[in-house]
Symmetry: C2
Subunit: 557 residues, 2 copies
Amino acid sequence: MAIQSGKLLVAALGGVNEIGKNMYLLQYEDDIIVIDCGSKFPDESFLGIDLIVPDVTYLLDNADKVRALIVTHGHEDHIGGIPYLLKQLNIPIYASQLTVGLIEVKLREHRLLSETKLHVIDADTRLELGTVKITFFSTNHSIPDCLGVAFHTPEGIVVHTGDFKFDMSPVNRQYPDLHRMAEIGKNGVLLLMSESTNAERPGFTPSERLVGENIAEAFMKAEQKVFISTFASNVHRLQQIVDAAVQSGRKLVLLGRSMVNVTAVAQELGYLNIPDGMLIEAGDTDRFTPEKIAVLCTGSQGEPMAALSRLASSNHRQIDVMPGDTVIIAATAIPGNERNLARVIDNLYLLGARVIYGSGSATGMHVSGHGSQEELKLMLTLMKPRYFIPVHGEFRMLYQHRLLAQSVGVEMENIFIVNNGEVVEIQNQIARKNGKIPSGNTLVDGLGIGDIGNVVLRDRKQLSADGMLVAVVTLSKTEGCILSSPDIISRGFVYVRDSEELMNDISQLVISTIEKLQEENVSQWSAMKQTLREALGRFIFAQTKRRPMILPIIIEV
Amino acid sequence: MAIQSGKLLVAALGGVNEIGKNMYLLQYEDDIIVIDCGSKFPDESFLGIDLIVPDVTYLLDNADKVRALIVTHGHEDHIGGIPYLLKQLNIPIYASQLTVGLIEVKLREHRLLSETKLHVIDADTRLELGTVKITFFSTNHSIPDCLGVAFHTPEGIVVHTGDFKFDMSPVNRQYPDLHRMAEIGKNGVLLLMSESTNAERPGFTPSERLVGENIAEAFMKAEQKVFISTFASNVHRLQQIVDAAVQSGRKLVLLGRSMVNVTAVAQELGYLNIPDGMLIEAGDTDRFTPEKIAVLCTGSQGEPMAALSRLASSNHRQIDVMPGDTVIIAATAIPGNERNLARVIDNLYLLGARVIYGSGSATGMHVSGHGSQEELKLMLTLMKPRYFIPVHGEFRMLYQHRLLAQSVGVEMENIFIVNNGEVVEIQNQIARKNGKIPSGNTLVDGLGIGDIGNVVLRDRKQLSADGMLVAVVTLSKTEGCILSSPDIISRGFVYVRDSEELMNDISQLVISTIEKLQEENVSQWSAMKQTLREALGRFIFAQTKRRPMILPIIIEV
């Protein structure tokens, strides 16, 4: 009789079939290990929602089995959900030094720092969590200190890559650990979960070092102030910007909360080296001539409240973009942000700035932090997986990644494209999809976590499109008659001062509808309200082709 | 004494510093000629708005001087505003045959066809409108029958290019009329207004014919049904799709209202040649084997209600995308549509389709209809303008176009980058900016044209973010006391069933606030409402960090 091995499960609670909000889990029998816990910013269909975090119901239901959260790197889409998870489930966290530094900033804001068990690890750490041994390997990405994770389970090795590229000339000399990856994959791993962001992009992503050279050249050429905006978390790039400022003899101003936060953490932990006396306050720029100033700011996605947007619309209190200044946008727009960013660029041109940005220029002020097709194939080849699950991408990227895996020899039937919540189970070396666990979007709105659902969003949607109209009718309890002229109040529907006639007609309709109902001896409030809502809706749509939300209120006194 | 020449004015009522909604005007003394009248679809910040058209106040104020509307081509951003203009000002329209055909469809929908004076012109037409003589020249673009316009005024020649590229191997053999352009520009024109869409793009835009070859190849290779989506108005491409279907022995299904409308007009006017018996209904596809079917549909921008979206989410009643079918998206996403289109592609992959689309593939299923930098320089060189106004583009494109103009020899100080409404005046060969005329966005919402302004939009914005809360208080007229427990109604704020306690607290706060006001002898309704609104707002924000719109209603009986 063959020995029955334990059950190994893997699933994504976020991160497949969507951008952002990464969260994966691995479970061997009674040991659950969580990988990453990200958040994403809602698109415009989530009206009024501040943040979207993963649904962690499965973890709460299995709280006694959850051993740890391992975080691959410090980007928001991998750490942004942590405070919301911790509020419900206080589990130990393992992450590299910089990642821990960035998580700490977040936990401090949420007042969770003191009660959280944060463990700093590095690529040489070996963990043992229940039945699962864990080792790590260094990777490159657009933030330092990234780790790939190898789970050594009784069933075999599962590798989760985190986000990665293969930058052979990395800015910080944290080289991709090809040798350890080769060692892990020597006999082929059981399962590889690899990121898919650039699976549609042919070739090899250029080195971050290229950007540094271009930035340095632009800083030297600029005859006045230089403004440069990039992702605050891209510490390699921040270092190259600092270096360019040093080289061109400029003082450096930092603008934007996340820029100030990240540079403080990165400096303190030794990831960012800024010479003494180089940083100055925005208010002190007047003490220097323009060619001695560089400004490093947030807002490279055109976010309306960020520093670059405020500079572009001359709304920054302490510093102005002047004609002849140079503005470098060291980023490309993430899908959905194109219009905001274009608006910022337009405004900068209007101010007379020389703007250097991605599209149409060969200036190369940005490279991706994610590996392209040849790099994904390199990872697949190093790991020689029996089974493969492409993660971290929308469906078309997962699909392209599958094609890449097939091209390097993974069997088609051994590749699982999963949705969030779908479980892949491996037992006796045989993998199959087996059921679902709860997964989805938990919406954060103000202090509410998960209390906003479809009903509320649907109402907001209707309110946003055509506004609302309240009709208050006061009835006499004793006589049943209408006591005073109905109150009609609208917001977001029509401009009331120009719509007096319409409002009077609506008021009359309320009266005639109520009177008709009374003639028919209808006195149930729900029936009266329903009839009022329908009558007003029909009339208003015929008059305006609009469908405001109609709220009839009946008061009986 | 020198003869004083007349005043020549040009201005944009739309089309500069924005995408879409093109409208320009030329005025020589008392003769105003309008060029194009487009509409644009609102972005998400215009909540509930259906369409944006130009503000035509200046034309209404000078109605007796407006001689005509000349339309350069039949795209929505050049014709979509016509019905709204005509409802206010019935002026004659001059346009080429296909353009007139497409305008007619629009006027029929708005029941304006019979009263409109529509004149079909071609590149050889010569018009005389008041003091201004007008000639035309053929250009290429992503729709047939495009015209550039030369205004021969006593002050000199003003050329408006319309949208153009230089496609030397055009699908319909409507060659760009280089010779006539050369003739117009022989002695240099006074003023050139040229479009700027691709001013950021180096090189020369490829010929539409390239797309045809790639489509034909994909049609031949496809082993089952082929679905292809493109802009309905790109009649050249439709012809190439028809040809590919003929070549690969496929019947053709048309899906989507605008696809059906445009093909009908284009066929009737001889711009599109579809062999007899080739078109079949969607319901009849079952009568053929899959490799005999091609489906041409709308929705290439991922528009949620268009045919391709419905196919991708299996919501089309008569036809399904099956595993192994090929779907070609012969378009790239216009900024702002990326996310919708990505969602459609994901869903098509989920259905098992082979999807061919722009990004990351070298398949070339789309080329731009706008000339790139070398073509813009060609136009500038042909026209040799003394003055130049880049039009049809956002500011950064206008700016790049200015650099191109300088590079071919136009004097820097003779180039005017204008905003919508800014007037450039030319007299005695001297041009200068001189004042502004009204311009801006007129918002169409249902039947209302221009009645929605900032107040209504601001209310919709607040309602969309945090919903609303109505608090109704009934007071006794005689005794001043509260007659019944306040009615608290909310929508889009919190899920009421889970928020009973909060609602009770709010109700209590209403009572205590009113009682306090009565103790202080405050009985003015406006003051009472204001106090209630503030008290509730503070309490609710402290409890939820949300700011719903609060509507206190006080009823006195």
